[in-house]
Subunit: 389 residues, 2 copies
Amino acid sequence: MKASEIRELLKLLDQPDILSFAGGIPDPTLFPKAEFAEAMAEAMSGPGAGQALQYSVSEGYGPLRQWLSRHMGTLGVPCAAENIVITSGSQQALDYLGKLFITPGDTALVGWPTYLGALGAFNACEPRYARLDPWGNADAATLQAEAEAAGGRVKMAYVSPDFANPTGETLDAAGRMRLLDMAESLGIAVIEDGAYQALRYDGAQVPPMLATDVARCGGIDAARVIYCGSFSKTLAPGLRVGWVCAAKPVIERLVLLKQAADLHSPTLNQIAVDHVARRLFDAHVAGLRTVYGARRDRMLVALAREMPDGVTWTKPEGGMFVWLNLPDGVDAAALLAESLKSERVAFVPGSAFFADGSGRNTLRLSFSCATEAQIDEGMARLARLLRGA
Amino acid sequence: MKASEIRELLKLLDQPDILSFAGGIPDPTLFPKAEFAEAMAEAMSGPGAGQALQYSVSEGYGPLRQWLSRHMGTLGVPCAAENIVITSGSQQALDYLGKLFITPGDTALVGWPTYLGALGAFNACEPRYARLDPWGNADAATLQAEAEAAGGRVKMAYVSPDFANPTGETLDAAGRMRLLDMAESLGIAVIEDGAYQALRYDGAQVPPMLATDVARCGGIDAARVIYCGSFSKTLAPGLRVGWVCAAKPVIERLVLLKQAADLHSPTLNQIAVDHVARRLFDAHVAGLRTVYGARRDRMLVALAREMPDGVTWTKPEGGMFVWLNLPDGVDAAALLAESLKSERVAFVPGSAFFADGSGRNTLRLSFSCATEAQIDEGMARLARLLRGA
């Protein structure tokens, strides 16, 4: 399992003298701690405390589903609470969606690279992966013919259109439309991972694919796009609260899967997230954008200053990641092993994000937890390492 | 899905004038609310607050795994923290264990009846079910031959040996030994569901099957029994904290499954449960035993007073349930529908707990959330209903 190998690697990198850009986690100093403490205290006092600690329904806490349906409305997706199921982070949504759509041998379309947690979730269903590239040459008929030759059918496409993990890149409106057209030709679901959607630092917001789909097909209950959202990058990941927004028949099937798999997400956590989201979601996210945006700026400036010729990188408009392409022949995994001995700067080798294990000359940097001084020093170290490679 | 049908039914029964013995949930007035409020407040104050809201490791919060390894030691299972993985309730453990052991067409041995949430979890893997009966006539060779004739192998046995949901019955030490022998002959895993283990009201404790297995095989890492525990019935279910105690190779595979499925259980919840368990687990459970034990007594007395001839029931030594056998030809589902119109007393028809849908003349009563007056009135109503049936 690649995800686990990376996890094991990241444990080794957790040493104090290592400058790490390997994690993809939010900065814990930015969590709304006081507000969560207040929300927990409120939920745990008075007559509601019993409810907060009791079993609850598999579809999720009603007021939070209501809030999320309005939140999705602000993103251009008119929907009802019945179009929302609460999940234990969006990772759980990916796990369930894999099970819902894939039987062994079916084809899943994913980016090259893509989020390795999605590969980890889908792998349990033993799919064949094919490259999803809205601008590539492969048309729907070719993709389907290849899937059938491999003994299955194309069943779904997975895409993170905003500031994707690992590249930080955004799929523009035309690309989203083209992907929707392809999905329609194939008759498949599109899983839209919106984990980083709220963290835009510049440029104009592009509507979620689900919004475009709903506008085209006339209503969410006819939509083929399934939107996975998460509070992990906006409020706090440790509470494990995410959601899926989709057509009611999809939500109903996910609720049955969740009921069999873990009954429901923790009650108190949903109550607390509902409380905090209602009071400060927009204001808090605006604050995160300022801080993370400055770190992204600093990293892009440092990369431009430090990197040797032959190294290129993405210029993300949001999220937590910058993606580097190294000169051909440089192996990022070997580079990391070397770094542990010399420069002591950490990153994630890119090949783990490729379904076919390619991309050996790529790597992922995260700027979300680094100070500006750490970014400057880290990029200088990385550049020295690359000049020696 | 039978579990979901029952859930939908239970929603209908949630009307104020219905006397319900249908739920199988703990009494929320007995949750240690003040202690959880204190634990949350402590976790959310000071420098640890960031950690409580941050991502954490898939295997679970270290101090809680430590506490649980000692707790399992007190049950006769010497083990280390590495023999524990934290799950989101024991329902999640059942889901993962189904995936770990069963491929479609394999045989799972389950009680007739058994916990319907286990059937719900395993059903995703499309097993064949065969009847597990340590005192039955079927020997291991016969069970295996039948499994092979059905196109698979016997892969596991699932058993809840203490005060099982739905019957309340306990498997005695000799029965446990016999089941272990059978599992050894078959070379299969035994999944021991200990959800109600701590709630014994009288009689002598029988060691968990895992304890017996460890004593026989020489150490936990050679054990074939996999113990699923839960804080849902002892502290609070809404936080979704359970655990598996098993051989390290099993734990390692479960950690990988969990990582791909939901990354980890919520950090704060584990910290809070650790805090509360350390401070008051034994004392709190002793209090629960007194209250639930009195309710069980009252129900058994009321049943003896009220029930017409031809109705028999279990005499559980613990847990939350009494199981009724009605006269042949009485259909408990039809009886419930009738009850909604006349006596307004609720229970769970027993057939949902049978893998083959049999047991139509059985029903489950829970005494965990009822007052003594409600128990008296409810059993009188149920007896009138049965006399009319």
